[in-house]
């Protein structure tokens, strides 16, 4: 089950992105060589370049597999960074060899190294980025000099550039200088921008944590006295403290309703801040049916007078899942209770489970009032309540944001589809369970 910190997750995402870009680079190299040879009739040695493209494709596939594996393991950020350096080094070597076979210092594509420099400088630390740029420049200059001195054979790109520029010492010196300065200036800008961004992200994370801490403290301190007020009100309304007349009772009932709402509100706030602050999920293997049944059991009494049909559809011999049982109960409870709350008498609510490619798909569907189209993009935001329910029913607007948070902490995703007056479907996924 995925449990990652935001920073680690970001690093992993960037690595994944780098892998995509590398696929694009492989395609670009092959197409460019094919076009150069067959369309522009440039005399290029195709085979070594194709072999390097193949080499890049092979190690990229290896990285992809490795990345999928480390996603499920709790690797340290340092290990992931080391993985990034390995990738970068292999890229630099491959690109230098390609440059060698495509004209060396005469090939204007050497400046494509700048893209690689920018991409990896975003991933690596400041020191690593400069070191990497140093290696790029040293390899390129060595290549230029070795070709100039005849230590390495020069593969000229006849048909593209006719003159033997690689033998011109002024040209070799100039291109080396321009190349080196370009790479280092690019590194400098990328490193400073990404450092600022990283700092800002860390500050935001810290602020968010402080906010959660604060909300947790305040809501906890509010909850205890609210429970006392509720208990005392119950005593009076239950006539345990003596008789009460009609008007007083009515007023007390109004107070009780407001206090109840406040109690729910603080409870939701407390749940939200607590679950957000929780570093580790309590992952266990269990039968998902139990969780759905518990959630339905708690939600059912809240229907009140309404008649709503609840269908739970779980395929036979459904495998056990691995998740935080308590949190997943919360997810089902919230989705089922919402479905009940916004579905009129005579309506239906379904909970359906299916499995595709080992990914668990769970659907909670109702024939309720639906969500206005303009509110759908905001439905998972904290404190947001849709227009058509904000005035008519009580709610805190926290339940769904917490549901989303819990599912994403489990490595899943949640989607919503809704049509006003027809109903709503919440669909969420949970990643495969390790067997």
């Amino acid at each position: 089950m995925n449990q990652t910190t935001p920073l680690k997750e970001e690093l992993l995402q960037r690595l994944e992105w780098l892998i995509y870009i590398r696929w694009a680079a492989v395609v670009f190299i092959i197409t460019a060589v094919l076009a150069a040879i067959h369309i522009f009739k440039v005399a290029l040695l195709g085979l070594p370049i194709y072999l390097i493209a193949l080499f890049i494709a092979i190690y990229n596939a290896g990285f992809k597999i490795y990345l999928n594996q480390i996603r499920t393991k709790s690797l340290l950020t340092d290990n992931i960074r080391r993985f990034a350096i390995t990738q970068s080094m292999l890229d630099i070597i491959s690109l230098t060899i390609i440059i060698h076979f495509t004209g060396g210092s005469e090939n204007p594509f050497i400046f494509y190294f700048i893209f690689h420099t920018i991409l990896t400088s975003m991933l690596l630390s400041k020191k690593e980025s400069y070191l990497q740029s140093g290696i790029v420049c040293i390899l390129a200059i060595w290549l230029f000099i070795f070709e100039y001195m005849g230590i390495l054979p020069h593969h000229s790109i006849k048909g593209f550039l006719g003159t033997d520029l690689y033998k011109n010492i002024t040209y070799v010196a100039a291109i080396s200088f321009v190349f080196t300065s370009t790479i280092f200036i690019a590194t400098f800008f990328t490193v400073s921008v990404s450092e600022k961004l990283r700092e800002a992200a860390l500050k935001l994370l810290e602020k968010d944590r402080l906010k959660d801490e604060y909300v947790k403290m305040v809501s906890h301190d509010l909850k205890s006295p609210l429970a006392s007020i509720q208990s005392l009100l119950e005593v009076i309304l239950g006539r345990f403290a003596g008789p009460i007349d009609g008007k007083v009772k009515e007023i007390l009932q109004r107070i009780q309703k407001k206090v109840e709402f406040l109690h729910h509100y603080t409870k939701d706030l407390l749940d939200l801040s607590r679950i957000r602050a929780e570093k580790n999920l309590n992952i266990k293997k269990f039968n998902i049916k139990e969780v759905i049944d518990t959630a339905a059991e708690i939600a059912l009494p809240k229907i009140g007078e309404k008649e709503i049909q609840l269908n739970i559809d779980i395929p036979e011999r459904f495998p056990d899942i691995e998740a935080d049982k308590e949190l997943l109960t919360y997810v089902f409870l919230n989705l089922i209770a919402n479905a009940f709350k916004y579905t009129q008498s005579g309506g239906k609510v379904w909970v359906r489970l299916s499995q595709a490619d080992n990914v668990l798909m769970i659907e909670v569907r109702d024939t309720g009032i639906g969500i206005p189209a303009e509110d759908i993009p905001h439905i998972f935001e904290e404190f947001f309540r849709a227009n058509n329910v904000a005035k008519t029913t009580k709610g805190t607007g926290l339940g769904l944001s917490l549901v989303k948070h819990i599912i994403e902490r489990h490595g899943g995703r949640i989607f919503v589809e809704s049509e006003l007056g027809k109903g709503t479907v919440f669909t969420f996924t949970l990643p495969p369970t390790k067997t």
Binding site: I229, S231, V235, N282
Partner: protein
């Protein structure tokens, strides 16, 4: 009539619970803190204890429950634990994970409705 001990540092909760229980004729005694509650349990031998979690410390209620259940003379007294906290004390309040962990008969979140309180009290006293 059965004797019930309420251990809770919130005087309002004690009062509310007391009124409800006394209405059914139970004899109710109380303590506003864990250690005092334990001493009262030793001296008075109640038939049931209603115990709060967060008192002097975040988990004083848990400690008192362990102490009570470890004392052979008091271990038979059923404990109904009331709490206004959830997971934040570090204890996971779900039956299957912590039943062995938490030596109480039942754990209920505050506020508890008078009707439910009376039902639970009746159930535990009957079992006893």
């Amino acid at each position: 009539m059965a004797k019930i001990l309420i251990i809770d540092d919130d005087a309002d909760i004690v009062e509310a619970t007391k009124i409800v229980l006394e209405s059914k004729g139970y004899k109710v005694i109380s303590a506003n803190e864990g250690d005092a509650g334990y001493k009262k349990a030793e001296a008075e031998r109640p038939d049931l204890i209603i115990l709060d979690v967060m008192m002097k410390t975040k988990d004083q209620g848990f400690q008192v429950s362990y102490k009570l259940k470890n004392n052979p003379e008091l271990s038979k007294i059923p404990i109904l634990m009331l709490t206004s906290v959830g997971r934040e004390t570090g204890f996971k309040f779900s039956k299957e994970t912590d039943e062995d962990y938490l030596p109480v008969e039942e754990l209920v979140e505050k506020p508890i409705k008078p009707k439910d309180l009376l039902l639970k009290v009746e159930k535990f006293l009957k079992k006893k």
